[in-house]
């Protein structure tokens, strides 16, 4: 307890005022925030990948016309060694990350592959598991750097 109670009163007032003013300014800045770039978001990319449906003939060497989830095709790619689906995924991630370094790890059963750079200081990250129609799960992990 400070000996000078008058000074303590002023100090506490100032602290409370500053705290509430900071809250008010942050609320106002969020409301009137500018339209601007926030950096690529890993969850957004993962959501797009999980929702995507393609024909295997679109991005593999298979002559298969049935529409399946992209994640099923990626699992096939890991199991069979067909690199075309991974090239497609890399093309998409290059677009999404627009120059930011990224690392995507895919694993299906005993097979695993990595796309992107080896070492990324993660700015935005996401992990997901996708059920594969033929059985098992595809595990995906995306890290995007600044």
């Amino acid at each position: 307890m400070l000996k000078d109670s008058r000074g303590f009163t002023a100090y506490v007032d100032a602290i409370a005022f500053m705290a509430i003013l900071l809250m008010a300014l942050s609320v106002i800045s969020v409301q009137f925030g500018t339209d601007g770039e926030n950096g690529p978001n890993a969850s957004e990319a993962m959501d797009a990948i999980s929702a995507a449906k393609v024909r295997p003939a679109d991005i593999t060497d298979l002559d298969e016309g049935a529409v399946v989830f992209l994640t099923d095709v990626l699992a096939y790619s890991l199991a069979s060694g067909d690199g075309k689906p991974l090239s497609y995924l890399e093309e998409f991630l290059d677009l999404h990350c627009r120059g930011h370094p990224y690392r995507m790890e895919l694993a299906y059963g005993d097979a695993s592959r990595t796309i992107g750079v080896e070492d990324v200081r993660t700015y935005s990250g996401a992990e997901s598991e996708f059920p594969v129609s033929l059985g098992g799960k595809l595990r995906a992990s995306l890290s995007i750097g600044l």
């Binding site: 008058r6 506490v12 339209d35 770039e37 990319a45 797009a48 497609y88 998409f92 999404h96």
Partner: protein, 132 residues
């Protein structure tokens, strides 16, 4: 002014003063929030959720053409352009704009989403929005 310790409650005085300040500033915050929400009938930010479309016969058909002009009218900005890039060769890139391009001073935002394609497919697309 001659200092006097009469009426000096010490720590209690400090707490009461702080409570008075907190109440006054909370009332101010509440009034400001009510005024802001009443004024902002239209959101000043570009709604990236409006970006979408579908691929028909190898051509991208956007769903946001009308929204671009509405955005300019609502915010008073002079120019907005949206470029849609779809990897994998499903269709070519597509760029739509509204307003007058000033040539510089843009702010940029991006959105990634899955869009519809022929035959029940959904493919990832990356939208780049430039606003001035």
């Amino acid at each position: 002014m001659i200092g006097s310790r009469n009426g000096d409650m010490g720590f209690m005085e400090a707490v009461l003063s702080m409570m008075a300040v907190v109440l006054a500033l909370t009332a101010f915050l509440g009034a400001a929030a009510v005024l802001i929400s009443a004024d902002s009938g239209a959101d000043l930010r570009f709604n990236a959720g409006m970006l979408g479309g579908e691929i028909l016969d190898g051509e991208f058909v956007p769903s946001y053409e009308g929204y671009l002009q509405e955005y300019l009218d609502a915010t008073g900005r002079s120019y907005v352009s949206v470029e849609a890039e779809i990897p994998g060769g499903f269709c070519g890139d597509n760029t739509i704009s509204a307003g007058t391009d000033p040539g510089s001073g843009y702010s940029t935002l991006f959105r990634t989403a899955a869009i519809g394609c022929d035959g029940g497919r959904k493919v990832p697309a990356v939208f780049r929005v430039m606003i001035c």
